[in-house]
Symmetry: C2
Subunit: 461 residues, 2 copies
């Protein structure tokens, strides 16, 4: 196997320019999913990917239409016997380019500048998709891939992946695998390879309170009617205690404790109080005092008000006593919380705490379970060893505060463990003008993925 490994790495060294030209070809398709005028480009990118998969001698390649952008699926030929099947996820859609005037060149004409490749999608995440495909191509060139790789590429990640869940639900056999790799979470610095082993889940609600039958004159009724905007504020105020803990009974019951060892691991990450203060633009942080900022945003659940609306919000003064008040409220969840349980807890809370002066309605708008992979699983060990082989140091292990639909869906629907990594850097301008890809990091990433594939085939390192 060591020979095949070296041969695959040699393939990469010999084909660097060709692989880069291929990435540039992919990048030139302006597959902006949020903009209707680019929907044909989104389809074009799907077709380009399918063609590329076919060129990689796949066993099966298929484009699945959806109500939105198509999903592209590919499966390589079976690997060695007993070797696991790896599902690699990616999204081929990209962010819009505005403000265009801030770009130093055409966003869809890749521009190399020393070690950097500037273009929309170069980092997020066409570069990451091609890194995975290049790794497969490399191992294929060395007497065939030792494991079976499946690929699932969507074109709607930047618009919330509306068709991903139903697709996975109805294609369980097609997607059957032992492990999922999502190379969309990046690394914390060019010398800081990173594995994301946890993702927070989401339970997003809209709460509407109704008081009087219509907006009232605050002069004629102020003093006898319980103002629903006030009731909403009273409710929201009570949802946290003084220390920033959520007060909903049972909310923390399923939350897994952080072990001293995991806290130590997380403490290695180069994100301290000052980091969050600077990036949020706040004078002072907030939250549960017994946890570090990083722990609070990644390993602790939260409840946030995402929106508030009631009464008169225009210019000037209108003396209305509003008939209704609305709040968007969402919880970030951590293992082992379940969105459905949190909804029931919140409903119980509302039934108990809302006064009879108002009626209310709670709608669930989005939900995803949290993801937490054991840091000593076969997949994580294989990836960790692979990254260490290239960077010469143990990767950082982090939990991500956000929610990545694919990880949550695969865990929920297929019971599949998901590991996240990637070779994008924090300053790649992923959603901003002048997005760029560090080509050195990218090349090292491809080599690491080659190691990952062989490590997996060997049953972990």
């Amino acid at each position: 196997m060591e020979q095949r490994r070296q041969k695959a790495l040699e393939f990469l060294r010999n084909n660097h320019e060709n692989l880069l030209l291929k990435l540039e070809e992919f990048i030139r398709i302006p597959s902006i999913s949020t903009e209707p005028q680019h929907h044909s480009d989104v389809r074009k990118a799907a077709e380009w990917l399918a063609d590329h998969l076919k060129a990689l001698d796949m066993e099966a390649v298929e484009i699945f239409p959806t109500q939105g952008a198509p999903l592209v699926f590919g499966a390589s030929r079976s690997g060695d016997s007993d070797a696991p099947t790896l599902l690699i996820y990616g999204h081929y859609d990209v962010q819009p380019v505005d403000p265009l005037e801030e770009w130093e060149g055409d966003p869809f004409e890749p521009r190399r500048q020393s070690n950097l490749l500037y273009a929309r999608g170069a980092s997020d995440m066409k570069g990451q998709i091609m890194a995975a495909l290049n790794a497969l191509q490399a191992v294929q060139s060395a007497e065939g891939s030792p494991i079976r790789c499946k690929f699932l590429f969507e074109g709607e990640e930047e618009v919330g992946s509306p068709n991903l869940y139903p697709f996975i639900q109805t294609h369980r056999e097609l997607l059957a695998c032992d492990l999922c790799l999502n190379p969309d979470t990046g690394m914390l610095g060019p010398e800081l390879p990173t594995i994301t082993y946890g993702l927070r889940g989401l339970a997003y609600f809209e709460l509407r309170l109704r008081g009087p039958s219509q907006d009232l004159h605050s002069g004629s009724f102020g003093g006898v009617v319980h103002n629903p905007a006030q009731v909403l504020c009273e409710l929201i105020a009570d949802l946290h205690d003084q220390d920033g803990r959520v007060t909903i009974p049972g909310f923390y019951d399923p939350v897994l404790d952080l072990s001293p060892e995991e806290r130590q691991e997380l403490a290695r990450l180069p994100v301290d109080e000052a980091f969050y203060q600077k990036n949020a633009g706040v004078k002072k942080l907030w939250g549960e005092p017994e946890f570090t900022p990083l722990e609070r945003v990644s390993a602790r659940p939260t409840l946030e008000v995402n929106g508030l609306l009631s009464g008169f919000i225009g210019e000037g003064s209108k003396t209305v006593l509003p008939a209704a008040a609305m709040a968007k409220i969402s919880c970030r969840l951590v293992a082992d919380q379940k969105p459905e349980e949190v909804k029931q807890q919140l409903e119980r809370y509302l039934r108990k705490h809302l006064p009879e002066t108002v009626s209310w309605e709670l709608k669930s708008l989005a939900s995803a379970p949290p993801v937490l992979s054991p840091r000593d699983s076969r997949g994580v060990r294989a990836l960790s060893t692979a990254l260490e082989a290239i960077w010469g140091k143990r990767p950082l292990f982090r939990r991500e505060g956000g929610t990545v639909p694919i990880g949550a869906y695969l865990q929920e629907l297929l019971g599949i463990e998901s590991v996240q990594t990637g070779f994008a850097l924090p300053d790649d301008n992923a959603h901003s003008p002048n997005e760029k890809l560090n080509l050195q990091t990218w090349s090292r990433g491809i080599e690491a993925l080659v190691h990952f594939i062989y490590n997996l085939s060997e049953g972990g390192s």
Copy 2:
């Protein structure tokens, strides 16, 4: 004087039809102040009024242009020596007519039906203006008016009287008087003549809180950033105690107690718990338990949230941790509270209670002091006796929960007492389709105003 009184009343009986035709002429001008396409009609109504004042043999009539609709001023010749000067206020603009399809005829073509006159503005308040002018005409016909009457008519009451305060401020001498009568507050039923001796004041604020420098991703920052929407809710929740009392220190200090005698007087009004419940469309009332609903909306100050806005309020779910949150908050004030003092109290409260995780800004958007006339003043006694002479019973004395700019402004700028009455009825559809005026009540009202003028000239009854 009794002879003159009878002669004036006789004038009214003999000229009923002519006076009514004049009112209809006035009504036909569609002076809708909220609609730009009617602004020329608003000016036309001002000119019609000025012409009518001139026909009444005034000493001075003038139209004062403003940035909006003009103000019309008139002053009758001096009355008997030592007799007081009465300033009568009115607004010649009317509400819009939508929904037009619900009208049973042209809103600006007055339609008589038995005892009712249907038209926009008939009740609110062209009918009331003409009642006052007819009363003057009647006393003039009886050897001249015993008192001097001044008139101030504005054309922007329905859009918040934006030019009234500066006009009064710069025309103190012109408006100098002993008493103001505002016939815009109506009566509680056709057999329930009503004097409104108190109006609540207003202090209207916009509060903006700022937290992070921009909207944040609730996944990446939820748990370390104090959400300004939550801070706003916590603040608002604390502004009332369990019993619905405002918690701002000092807020109630200047509030005059209700005497047992005044409470008894207010208890005569036909507005009970069921009245407020039905009109507000609520299952249950709310507010300070030691006061009746009527006392709470008229003789007690309140604090209301008029509007809330923060973060994402569109359809669906957006996981934003908002950078800012805004509330419109207003207080209804009662004597002897002062808007400026309330602003200072609120500012002190905010300085003390808002955490250092947010910055804030408080803007004052509108303010008016409360109005409270003694129920035994010369003006109130003259009016009470006048109403009793016609209706054969003591009028009801009420305090109004709303704010009437003219009353507040005259008290603040000229130190002038204001008494409010009028002959509009609660079911006149003042701001709705098929507005109507009860012509019997109107005629009785004009007679009552004749008595009022003579009573005033006699130094009260």
